[in-house]
Amino acid sequence: MDNSFVVSSSPHLRNSASTSGIMRDVIIALLPAAVAGIYFFGLKALLVIMVTILSSVISEYIARRVMKRDNTLMDYSAVVTGLLLALNLPSTIPLWIAAVGGVFAIVVVKQLFGGLGQNFMNPALAARVFLLIAYTGHMTNWVNPKGVDAVSSATPLELLKTGAAGIPSYAQLFFGNIGGCIGETSAAALILGALYLLFRGVITPEIPLTYIGTVAVFTWVFGGDSLFTGDALYHILSGGLILGAFFMATDYSTSPMTIKGRAIMGLGCGLLTSLIRLYASYPEGVSFAIILMNIAVPLIDRYTVPKSFGGEKAVA
């Protein structure tokens, strides 16, 4: 009997948190936005969501097989990537392009760099940017969600940028009756999911708050015809800002691990997003801002090593 004891390092007690549980929470939190997207853009949106999830999951399975590594489907991270990617695509996207996005996100961005936790860019966002550059026409073919006969239209940010007529109201922006990606249409649905993530402790508020706060201040100060006349609320509610701030910039693998680091990340994302939106030719800047900051994360982590408890110990 004596030889049968398990001998291991302390602690001998673990809590019930698990990676798959966290991923499941993220999926739950994204459901309102997905449902809103399907409601406003119709069954085509549902098809896009199913295609990206399937292609992500199959890519994950095959990539792990080929690399002779453990099957990691059960951590649900591939499902999260697929779902996030779909929410970042227009509903008009040809399904084969959506599928290519899933393959790119999983194989190139995630698994080639070592899999879960090792990727240096958010896979879904990197795939979106890849598709945007490779298939610009398809990726910017927006439709207005109203009615069955969807007609090509512009996103609220494009309208704002070009000064065209038909700028949607705050209520439309908030509840989702606007053109854009599947997941970014309804701020209300996104906030509902975000509150769930905060409540469950899956994400901490530093990144979303500093991100959205920075965009609000910057666009208020510089976004109008003269200083301090910008429409900050419009900028917050339109485009992918809420989706990006709560669900993409907070991605564990590609965001800093300390509170201070996370605040810096949010600030950086906010500045880049505002700069792109106000001064670049492209109307939306969230994707680029986040993946640029993703690249800076190792650097941020390096310069935000906290001092130990009671610490006057110098930290390099």
Binding site: V6, S9, S10, L13, T19, I22, D75, M257, F309
Partner: protein
């Protein structure tokens, strides 16, 4: 007095204080005892008895010339049957004295109430008692009570936080011997010239808080502090911060911020020893865990084998798959039940098959839960990565040596990574490198 001052992080571990209501039961004299020569942090003692010698209760059977050490006494009367390296609770072999008991428990003639006139004589007496920190660390008490002259000590903190799950041995001391605690405090206060005593107890032990507050009311120098129940509230640095607001800097000792921290059982022992002169030869041990038939608090003679203690508690109701000396957060997993209860043993926990399952570590998702859990403000995931890469420079950069091994990070990790295990490896790598004078 309630303090809301809290360290950052930690873990809300289950309390599992099943034995809180179990009055201490005295266990009889076993057939034999095995008394290791190392029952403290510091230098190992040399046995001063040999095979065939007759020994009595309280007789010194091992001592050391070294500064950081404490003598070891016989807990029984009988005949020394062996002096050899034997399995020690830490999993290594340590020179030990095996004694066949005669059951008479004759007290050795040197055992008499100690006499002391001043501080230095008191310290000699404490050394003679064999007292080491009874909270689990086992640091020799006479050294703790003798900080360097230039460090002015103004506060004695009595640690009764008992934040580890299962363990109730500190709690029972307060419930059963609160006056001993007070009288021990008074002895130490007087001899050390300390005028401020704070007794820290977690708020999940209202009975102990009430009892201690009642008896402490006799002195306006002694105050009971109600602590928030959160692991590791009883860790020395966290406790000092909670009750005084002082933070012990990395690499420094409590005496550097003017405090001495003693476990409640240690304080109580001082009083008992001054009264009777009987050295540290017995210990209250909480015996619990899913595999134990009758969870109990047992007064055990030091040197008694774990198997006999478990037997005394009705044996096992399920096959034990993992046996811990100490609590589930910081306790040491045992290879065998033939090791002995030592001075700083405060609990024996036996897990059944289900509780003993080792979680399979997955990939780190960098969620930061370990960072938020670390009460020392470290980055466990970076320490883990650099320990596995044996990168000593980076380990130092991330302050690996400040880790107190409380286990909060591993507890919180959703990927079930064995963080503390690799951080321990990292700490020893850094120690080795430093002793080589490298880097």
């Amino acid at each position: 007095m309630t303090f809301q001052r809290m360290f950052k992080g930690g873990a809300s571990v289950p309390h599992l204080k099943n034995t809180a209501g179990c009055e201490t039961i005295k266990m009889g004299v076993p057939q034999k005892v095995v008394i290791p020569m190392l029952q403290h942090i510091g230098s190992q003692c040399e046995p001063c008895v040999k095979k065939g010698d007759t020994v009595k209760v309280g007789q010194i059977i091992g001592d050391s010339e070294k500064f950081v050490s404490a003598p070891v006494h016989s807990s029984v009367s009988g005949i020394v049957s062996d002096v050899a390296p034997m399995l020690y609770p830490g999993g290594v072999f340590v020179k030990s004295v095996e004694i066949k008991t005669d059951g008479k428990q004759e007290i050795h003639e040197d055992v008499k109430p100690p006499v002391y006139k001043d501080n230095s004589e008191f310290l000699r007496v404490i050394r003679q008692s064999g007292l080491v920190g009874l909270g689990g660390a086992g640091f020799p008490a006479h050294i703790k009570l003798a900080p360097p002259q230039h460090k002015k000590i103004d506060t004695l903190i009595v640690n009764a936080a008992e934040c580890e799950p299962f363990i109730t041995s500190d709690y029972r001391e307060i419930i059963e011997n609160s006056w001993n605690v007070i009288s021990g405090i008074n002895i130490i206060m007087e001899i050390m010239g300390i005028n401020n005593v704070l007794i820290g107890i977690e708020d999940n032990k209202p009975e102990a808080l009430k009892e201690m507050t009642n008896v402490a009311a006799t002195s306006d120098k002694i105050n009971v502090v109600k602590l928030k129940s959160r692991y590791p509230q009883g860790a020395e640095k966290m406790l000092i911060y909670a009750v005084t607001g002082r933070k012990v800097p990395p690499g420094k000792l409590p005496s550097d911020v003017g405090v001495i921290v003693m476990n409640v059982n240690s304080v109580s022992f001082v009083s008992e020893y001054v009264k009777t002169g009987i050295p540290l030869i017995k210990k209250r041990v909480t015996v619990d865990g899913p595999a134990v038939a009758n969870p109990s608090n047992v007064e055990v003679l030091i040197g008694t084998s774990l198997s006999e203690v478990f037997e005394f508690c009705g044996g096992f109701k399920a096959p034990p798959k993992k046996v811990l000396m100490g609590g589930p957060m910081m306790g040491i997993a045992q290879f065998s039940l033939e090791t002995s209860v030592v001075k700083h043993t405060n609990a024996l926990i036996a897990f059944d098959e289900k509780a003993a399952v080792l979680p399979k570590p997955g990939a780190c998702i960098r969620c930061g839960r370990c960072v938020f859990a670390c009460p020392m403000n470290l980055l466990p995931l970076s320490l883990n990565n650099n320990a596995l890469k044996e990168n000593i420079e980076e380990l130092n950069k991330y302050n690996v040596s400040d880790c107190i091994e409380c286990g909060s990070c591993s507890y919180a990790c959703p990927a079930k990574i064995h963080l503390v295990q690799s951080i321990r490896l990292g700490k020893s790598l850094v120690r080795q490198a430093a002793s080589k004078g490298g880097n």
